[in-house]
């Protein structure tokens, strides 16, 4: 690759543009990842030189009931979150289809939740969901009951999933809406010949046609579940009884409160592998090539 008569070839321009991206990745992805791998097998407490510790961190993490409990909590979170966010996003997407004027305004209103500060809305929801908060006082006054939104081990995760659903329903809904918009009307016209009931049309036609958008939303939802931090940190602190203790909370405390970055690094790798495997399973089992169907 040489310069010909002082002119930049397309290849040179391409290489120059790619270099920035490559450098960015080297610095902010490859370097931290290598450091993460080294730390996972090291004894290091932020000061001095890391010393090789063999499999010690693995043994300690294998016996760490808090960490494995937090991974189980990811599954519990998904159990609440997936049905809520999928149903909510689909309802939003279908609703948006039928709106004439003000569509952009409504879509942006829903997106506002997505760009709001996690700390700010977590504080607001903590107050709303408090056992002595306005929601419970209303329920008590009108129905004579209160709901332990954040103070019961079985309800706390549901409440957090509810808040995260509120945050993402607009974003996921727009992704699904784009899929709905892309379905050719001829397909519906052809289906009309058989006059299928609405549910059959939904499950046999609409949902399969937006399979790629649904898979994308599912993958996003899974990554949210593994990466959730602000909401449980602010609203429940991982409790009660560790029922909302998520992997990132454990990792954060291990690194910065217990000052064990080596163990936290290994946890990060385990979390990354687990989320990658979950995504692979989703793609293998649910992804369909709609184009060639």
């Amino acid at each position: 690759m040489t310069l010909k008569s002082g002119h930049l070839t397309e290849a040179h321009i391409g290489a120059a543009l790619a270099i920035l991206y490559l450098l960015f990745n080297l610095l902010f992805w490859v370097y931290p990842f290598l450091w993460l791998a080294i730390l996972s097998f090291s004894d290091w407490r932020f000061f001095g030189t890391p010393s090789f510790s063999g499999l010690k961190n693995i043994y300690i993490i294998l016996e760490d009931r808090e960490f494995w409990g937090s991974l189980w909590n990811v599954i519990r979170f998904l159990g609440f979150y997936l049905p809520m966010v999928l149903a909510g996003s689909l309802a939003f997407a279908f609703g948006l289809q039928h709106i004439g004027r003000g569509k952009v305004f409504i879509a942006l209103s829903f997106l506002l939740a997505n760009v709001s500060s996690g700390v700010a809305y977590s504080l607001v929801f903590t107050k709303i969901f408090s056992s002595t908060g306005p929601l419970n006082m209303f329920l008590l006054d009108w129905f004579g009951v209160t709901i332990p939104w954040l103070s019961s081990p079985s309800m706390a995760m549901f409440s957090i999933a509810l808040v995260v659903t509120w945050k993402f329903v607009g974003y996921y809904g727009l992704i699904l809406y784009s899929g709905l918009m892309a379905i050719p009307t001829e397909i519906y016209d052809a289906a009309k010949l058989d006059n299928p009931p609405p549910l059959t049309r939904l499950f046999r036609l609409t949902l399969p046609m937006i399979n790629s958008q649904l898979i994308l939303v599912l993958i996003f939802a899974v990554t949210v579940a593994f990466g959730i931090f602000t909401e449980p940190y602010m609203m429940t602190g991982g409790g009660p009884l560790e029922s909302t203790n998520m992997p990132l909370l454990v990792m954060y405390e291990t690194a910065f409160s217990r000052l064990q970055p080596g163990r936290a690094a290994l946890m990060a790798i385990i979390i990354a592998v687990a989320s990658y495997l979950a995504i692979v399973v989703i793609r293998k089992t649910l992804e369909k090539d709609v184009g060639s169907a």
């Binding site: 690759m1 000061f47 903590t126 107050k127 002595t132 306005p134 409790g239 009884l241 910065f256």
Partner: protein, 429 residues
């Protein structure tokens, strides 16, 4: 390909050059000309340090001091740790709590203050002999405590009067009697007995009640949890009864329950006086401050927990002696102690608050603050251990929460928490 490699090299050098710190500038090996001080990100404390530093710099007694607040986005501890790891730590930092100090000392990051010339003279000048005992790590002192906030209980005097009570509750039985009456009113609770969900909250519930009942005896002794004793048992029985009877709620996160009158009493520190004076002055007029509640009435003052923080000199500092000279000057100056009190309202870590005429004059016109100052000598700091967070998390997960949800008897919860804490401490040793 050569072009690509050259471009890569140039870009890498630029990046490395840009990323490297400014420490390699000329004169790096020369001794710094200033003492760098980090102070708590708190408006009133910042005001104090501004005046103190200004006076020191004008006095010409030593190296000038520059100060900034701890650049904490999350917590002070994370900001200090990051600075230490990246080599950007100041010479002195305030806002250090016992657990973090124990971690830093264990990692060899702190200068031993008790080995510095003039240290014991300073301790004697401030009558801090008793206070400093709680900051011992292997016979050495790494932290100089700045303030001691005893935890006390705030009671709404109007509610007590409505219930026909003439004195503040002193014992668990007193709280039961009050709660029984107050809960009979519409959706009310006797007292907030659990401060919150986080590990720090144990300072303001279990540990405060424990110190009060155990006359200040430690909950961790010789590297072992020892709170499964009569005092610990009476505290968990108290908590259990309050929850089972519905005399307290799982959380009061919505609004301040003292302000709304949802509870008659709650554990509070002296910082709330300034806060209430500013935000809820009318409620503050109805507040009476009582000692920490205990299982039984005690002769004299009831022990309580001391929320206390101090300052450290980092081992990385190249002006340790000069930094200690500055500290000695600030903290041996009674006028500055009074200034601290006036600005922050937090009792300075001194043993003569009730005897020194300077402070007595202040407290005469500040009766609520005086109540706190009066308990400084019976306020016990938290255990000086590296595993503070895990020990207090265990208290919450294995003891407080199972009691709250009624899934363990109080005795079983206490035994489980102590056993798990000891397992944890054993692994750390």
């Amino acid at each position: 390909m050569k072009t690509v490699i050259r471009l890569l090299l140039v870009a890498s050098l630029l990046l490395v050059g840009g990323c490297s710190g400014s420490g390699s500038a000329a004169g790096d090996s020369a001794r710094p000309k200033v003492i760098k001080l980090w102070v708590a990100p708190n408006e009133t404390q910042e005001e104090f340090w501004k005046i103190a530093v200004d006076r020191w710099n004008k006095s010409g007694l030593g190296l000038p001091v520059t100060f900034t607040t701890i650049p904490a986005t999350g917590s002070s501890e994370k900001a200090i740790l990051t600075a230490l790891v990246s080599g950007n730590a100041p010479d002195i930092s305030t806002n250090i709590f016992a657990g973090f100090a124990a971690q830093l000392a264990d990692l060899g990051q702190l200068q031993e203050l008790s080995a510095m010339a003039g240290y014991w003279k300073l301790i004697a000048a401030r009558h801090m002999g008793r206070i400093i005992q709680g900051w011992d790590q292997g016979g050495k002192k790494y932290v100089f405590p700045i303030y001691v906030n005893p935890t006390m209980i705030w009671w709404r005097s109007d509610i007590l009067a409505k219930l026909g009570l003439k004195t503040v509750p002193r014992t668990f039985d007193d709280v039961y009697a009050l709660s029984r009456k107050y809960a009979a009113l519409d959706h009310k609770y006797g007292m907030q007995v659990i401060a919150g969900k986080n590990w720090q909250d144990r300072w303001f519930d279990f540990i405060s009640f424990y110190y009060a009942t155990a006359a200040g005896a430690p909950y961790i002794k010789d590297g072992k949890a020892v709170y499964d004793n009569a005092a610990g048992r009476s505290v968990v029985i108290f908590l259990n009864k309050m929850f089972r009877q519905g005399w307290t709620a799982a959380d009061f996160d919505s609004d301040d329950p003292l302000v709304t009158g949802l509870v008659a009493g709650a554990v509070r520190g002296p910082w709330d006086i300034a806060y209430f004076r500013k935000i809820y002055p009318d409620i503050l007029k109805k507040i009476v401050i009582g000692p920490m509640i205990a299982n039984h009435k005690t002769e004299g003052k009831t022990f309580t927990f001391a929320d206390t923080k101090g300052l450290v000199i980092f081992k990385s500092s190249r002006v340790k002696k000069q930094a200690f000279a500055f500290i000695s000057w600030v903290f041996s100056n009674d006028d500055l102690s009074l200034l601290w009190l006036r600005k922050t309202g937090l009792p300075p870590a001194r043993g003569d608050l009730m005897t020194n005429p300077l402070f007595r004059a202040f407290y005469r016109s500040h009766p609520l603050d005086r109540q706190y100052a009066d308990y400084v000598d019976v306020a016990v700091p938290p255990a000086f251990i590296e595993s503070t967070i895990d020990v207090q998390k265990t208290m919450g997960i294995d003891m407080i929460e199972p009691i709250e949800f009624g899934i363990k008897t109080p005795e079983a919860a206490l035994t489980d928490a102590v056993r798990r804490t000891n397992q944890l401490l054993e692994v750390r040793q």
